[in-house]
Subunit: 146 residues, 2 copies
């Protein structure tokens, strides 16, 4: 059956965002599978790799737009795989920071290349200028929530 | 703690898509709650309202990017609320079509206004031209999956 035009949804930016996001998540999950990661675990690992001396679970929840309980589970999974560790913050020992292990950094580098390839595939209809434009518009949208 | 720049993720279009989509979904779910709907139910109802003589569950799965089993659950929920019915297709009686009831059409119209307001709020940092541009870029991305 042919997919017909849908008046209410086809031009709805919210619907298009969901569809585009789902498309990229599925492509990225497929690419990350051989590195033993899913998108959300990869995002936590990437943030742990990017942040010195580490990232708090509260900050992870804010940046990723997840519930704190979801973040705890993701960090548990990454810790069980030996990719991150929880260490006390050097400035506030009551706060635990999530820190990437050496093995975590290795896995993250390889996973990042796989994720970038998957993203390029999912965005193959856009030329580089259009990708930059999309990035800029989405950055503005996301800034609303801060 | 301040949210610092994150080298690997901050400019990643896939990550930005997830964040923007999550933002819009949360705002829309909040707006739809008083109409007794969540975003996915609303999308199914909108498609059932848009399509004559109705929409198949397979087509719903394709358009919404969901598993067929998820679609069955959503249609069950809407049918239990009296907003849609399953009827045999006039052209192929083995296919059941999802058809909006009169009450479903009423609810959809009111829910559509609430969803549009929520979306406008979530996209308030973009001017109308930027919204059009975002819609056009996302439409191209989504077309990749067809």
């Amino acid at each position: 059956m042919e997919v017909v035009m849908h008046q209410h949804l086809s031009g709805d930016v919210g619907f298009l965002l969901s569809r585009a996001s789902g498309l990229v998540v599925r492509a990225t999950n497929a690419a990350l599978a051989e590195h033993g990661l899913r998108v959300r675990q990869y995002s936590v690992l990437a943030l742990a790799c990017d942040t010195e001396p580490g990232v708090s679970q509260r900050e992870l929840a804010t940046v990723l737009g997840l519930d704190p309980s979801q973040v705890v589970l993701l960090v548990d999974e990454l810790a069980a795989a030996g990719l991150v560790e929880r260490r006390p913050s050097p400035t506030d020992r009551r706060t635990k920071l999530v820190v990437a292990t050496d093995r975590g950094r290795d896995v993250q580098e390889r996973a990042a290349r796989a994720a970038a390839d998957a993203l390029a595939g999912a965005l193959s209809r856009l030329d580089p200028d259009q990708c930059d434009l999309l990035r800029s518009l989405l950055t503005q949208v996301v800034a609303t929530s801060r």
